[in-house]
């Protein structure tokens, strides 16, 4: 019924998208901007992935084969920066753009023109960042955590471009999250209370607050670096009375919430997908909301666990250890809720569900290694080894990135109007699943055995697992080209998708036709909350 109303409405008042390139440059449409974000993030994913493959190729065997250590450090740095700020974060913003208005029955984002700015800043920021690789002295080579004084006193000249690129990314993120908050708080369809919002909307609301809180901290820390480098201050320069440890405190005050910024929307996605394919309502909706809020709160008070070996006093170490261990509780609640949702459901295993289940399993493995890392005395042996690399890749790759892929498969029929090729989708899943585990599981072992991270060459006892890890990385990396093929194929052709797409899907976005019209929910009377809840 809403479909009929929508079409009628469409003829009456609205025109479709403009033609040509200018459509994308000037667009204020949340769906167009969502598409832009998603394509941009995919390009960055391939670029950051290429850097990762350079790293894994060099580490395929001991000795220096392909790249010099200077360049290797640039690769580890750029891989981290591009993946965090260019791939994962914009992908979630893209999903927020596409889905939040459709999920809450809003016609668009609340601040559409700002939405356009927040996206179009990014290509400039990342062009600037990537161009540093071609500059004299090379690109940033101090790790994505850019600890001072390596990133100030000892940095290559291109660090200034890095600082401005980070500023631009921060501005983009802050504008994007203000938009999300304003949209969710003001543009919900009449009758939709906060506690009726889909969890994806909830998790994004909380993520947006985290972003608004911590991106200025990041801007602050890079500005202090800028001052140290160009204006003779000594915030982080011990010789001038400054404090290199201060850098780490400020960075991780941003950095730890940042980690959750990259996982909370994933929780929302998985909480949408599992109920659909289990054909059963999400277990413990309210506790999911409370758990997400608790995780967000805790994220502000645990930053010191990144610094257990820095030399904090005993009381500080104990506090950060206890606070960090606490995170396991709300995270556990989430995992248990997802499993309780699956329990006594009527499950089918289409590609989005496969990715969502893999998310739950592998994210849990990453969470458990995180629990191990929280034990401060043991962290003295784990810190800055491949055990940490394995841990955070388990939560970021089969965590965040699998959730993004799950989301793309899940909502792609809604976006394009076509079903994707299920056989290819499953192939993509299994290749990715195997690739990810072959890459990152052995890294636990080499980390425990004592291999430090960020080294271009290693002692002989680490050779076997490094080789396996590199093979897995190439498998995972090249499998993503299949993802590209599947998405393009789905845009061009495929079985016509119904409005509901999935048998068990509930929510407002499934009440509009597939593909979703250019303008949806232009007036409140188009929203049918009852139909949405099935």
């Amino acid at each position: 019924m809403s479909a009929i109303i929508e079409e009628h409405h469409h003829d009456d008042h609205h025109h479709g998208p403009a033609k040509g390139l200018m459509r994308w440059v000037f667009t204020t449409n949340h769906k167009d901007i969502g598409t832009l974000y998603l394509w941009f993030s995919f390009m960055m994913f391939l670029l950051g992935g290429t850097f990762a493959l350079v790293i894994r190729a060099e580490l395929f065997q001991p000795g220096l084969q392909l790249v010099a250590p200077e360049f290797f450090n640039q690769m580890t740095t750029m891989h981290g920066l591009i993946m965090v700020f260019g791939a994962v974060m914009p992908a979630f913003v893209g999903l927020a753009n596409w889905l939040i208005p459709m999920m809450i029955g809003a016609p668009d984002m609340a601040l559409p023109r700002m939405n356009n700015y927040s996206f179009w800043i990014l290509p400039f920021a990342f062009t600037m960042l990537a161009s540093t690789l071609l500059m004299e002295g090379g690109g940033p080579n101090f790790g994505w955590t850019f600890y001072a004084p390596l990133s100030t006193t000892y940095a290559p000249p291109s660090v200034t471009y890095f600082i401005f690129a980070v500023h631009l990314m921060g501005i983009s993120s802050i504008m994007g999250s203000i938009n999300v908050v304003v949209t969710i708080l003001n543009l919900r369809a009449p009758g939709m209370t906060l506690m009726q919002m889909p969890l994806f909307v909830w998790t994004w609301l909380i993520t947006a607050y985290l972003l608004i809180a911590v991106m200025p901290v990041l801007a602050g820390v890079v500005t202090m670096m800028l001052m140290d480098i160009h204006f003779g201050t000594s915030f982080f320069n011990a010789a001038g009375g400054g404090d290199p440890v201060l850098f780490q405190h400020v960075f991780w005050f941003f950095g730890h919430p940042e980690v959750y910024i990259m996982i909370l929307p994933a929780f929302g996605i998985v909480s949408a997908i599992i109920p659909t394919f289990a054909r059963k309502r999400l277990f413990g909706y309210a506790s999911m909301v409370y758990a997400t809020s608790s995780i967000a709160f805790l994220s502000f008070i645990v930053w010191g666990h990144h610094m257990f070996t820095v030399g904090m006093p005993l009381a500080g170490e104990l506090y950060f250890m206890y606070a960090t261990m606490l995170i396991a509780v709300p995270t556990g609640v989430k995992v248990f809720n997802w499993i309780a949702t699956m329990w006594q459901g009527s499950m089918t295993f289409e590609t989005p569900m496969l990715f969502a289940i893999a998310f739950v399993v592998l994210f849990t493995i990453g969470g458990l290694s995180g629990l191990m890392l929280s034990i401060a005395p043991a962290d003295f042996q784990y810190q800055d080894t491949y055990f940490v690399v394995a841990h955070f890749h388990y939560v970021l790759v089969p965590g965040s990135i699998f959730s993004i892929m799950a989301a793309v498969y899940y909502w792609l029929p809604k976006w394009t109007g076509h079903m994707y090729d299920e056989k290819l989708g499953k192939t993509h899943f299994w290749l990715s699943f195997i690739g990810v585990n072959v890459t990152f599981f052995p890294q636990h072992f080499i980390g425990l055995a004592g291999m430090p991270r960020r080294i271009p060459d290693y002692a002989l006892q680490f050779a076997d697992y490094n080789m396996i890890s590199s093979v897995g990385a190439f498998l995972f990396g090249f499998s993503q080209l299949l993802f590209l093929v599947i998405v393009i194929k789905c845009i061009k052709t495929g079985k016509q998708a119904t409005a509901q797409v999935w048998e068990g899907a509930h929510g407002l976005e499934w009440t509009v036709p597939s593909p979703a019209p250019y303008h949806t929910f232009s007036t409140p009377d188009e929203v049918n909350l009852k139909e949405a809840h099935g």
Binding site: V329, F336, Q344, F380, I455, Y458
Partner: protein, 380 residues
């Protein structure tokens, strides 16, 4: 021709396979180590590991059962529950109890790690790009032993031109030597950027931070050689600054220390003697290759712009006073560190003379170590 190519591949392949197999110390788990603390940490690690395994087995077990039984293809019909307060309280409270149980031993161990007690020996560990400088602190400055420990693995091994030896990347020229069953305190700091001094077998890992001195300690229970690596990204050669600690009996330690003190006395005398230009050049080349070549390269061409060339340009062909000043005091804001704490006057004089006369620089000038020593002691 074809055959030669084939056999080359075979050699490469066998090198590749054997390189990892010869190594006996191959392991997939944390080392138990050789101190009481390292064993406690290992126990903690295994405890939390098994806790995680049990949680994992339970959680994934339920998931797998659900995926097998509750699938549409076997005719499962979905139930209608979506809340259960009892269950939800249970799975909040049980993890809290597990965490409390974990926090107790973790706190105990951490307490012990933070209590260095009375140490018999104090060693300053100073991270430098890309080597470690050790100073055995002594109230009598003439008995203070100080030396720099750098990677021994030759470049040819790193570049795969020759076969890699057993302790590839884990051998140093000067090992740190400490006595067994004695409490040693490490005072860790840095002369440039961040480093981290890590010896897995001691469970000692301390970030080396300029402007800070942080302590760590170890009481090693078994003689032997223990190896570690820098664990904090510190620039280009972060992967090439290993740590080797030789733990010996008390008597052997004392002999070694006396030897080192004697070396210090000899250096004192060496600095005072008259050096010929040839002696300076020979010594200079040795010091240059050991200390300077990592950045400025063996051929002096450097890696501009970070590491400038010394050939036919800049300080090496300018006034000697400026050249000496940079080597002695370093250049603020760059990787060029101050060497007056790391090298003795003879080494500094020799390396400066070498740089001014090698690679066709041919400046022809000279300086005696005792003159450099005078500059160093008067702080000029």
């Amino acid at each position: 021709m074809e055959k030669a190519k084939q056999s080359r591949w075979l050699v490469a392949l066998s090198l590749l396979l054997s390189s990892s197999m010869v190594y006996a110390d191959w392991t997939v788990n944390m080392r138990q180590g050789v101190t009481a603390i390292s064993r406690e940490i290992y126990e903690l690690h295994m405890l939390i590991f098994w806790v995680c395994v049990v949680i994992g087995v339970l959680v994934f077990g339920v998931m797998i059962i659900s995926m097998l039984l509750h699938r549409k293809s076997v005719g499962a019909v979905s139930a209608d529950f979506h809340d259960n307060t009892t269950v939800e309280i249970l799975w909040t409270v049980i993890p809290v109890i597990i965490l409390l149980a974990m926090a107790v031993p973790a706190t105990t161990t951490l307490n012990k790690m933070y209590d260095p007690g009375e140490a018999a020996i104090d060693i300053e560990v100073r991270g430098l790009q890309w080597k470690w400088q050790y100073t055995y602190l002594n109230n009598d400055p003439t008995k203070e032993v100080k030396f720099v420990s750098s990677l021994l693995t030759p470049r040819e091994e790193i570049l795969n031109e020759t076969r890699k030896r057993e302790h590839y990347l884990l051998d140093v020229d000067n090992e740190l030597v400490i006595p067994v069953n004695t409490r040693v305190r490490f005072l860790v700091t840095s002369g440039d950027t961040l480093h981290a001094w890590w010896v897995p077998d001691f469970a000692v890992k301390r970030d080396a931070i300029p402007g800070f001195i942080h302590q760590a300690w170890a009481e090693v229970e078994k003689t032997g050689i223990y190896r570690g690596q820098c664990a904090e990204l510190c620039g280009k050669d972060h992967g090439f600054m290993p740590i080797v600690v030789r733990v010996v009996e008390q008597g052997e330690y004392e002999t070694w220390l006396a030897g080192k003190q004697e070396e210090g006395r000899l250096v004192y005398e060496t600095v005072g003697k008259e050096w010929t230009q040839d002696e300076l050049m020979a010594k200079g080349e040795e010091v240059y290759l050991r200390v300077c070549a990592a950045c400025h390269q063996a051929n002096g061409q450097g890696l501009p712009p970070a590491f400038p060339s010394l050939v036919g340009q800049g300080l090496a062909v300018g006034p000697m006073a400026a050249h000496l000043d940079i080597v002695l005091n370093g250049k603020a804001g760059t990787s060029m560190q101050s060497f007056k704490g790391q090298l003795n006057a003879a080494e500094i004089a020799a390396v400066v003379i070498y740089e001014r006369n090698a690679w066709g620089n041919n400046m022809g000038d000279s300086i005696q170590p005792r003159e450099v020593n005078k500059m160093m002691s008067t702080g000029q």
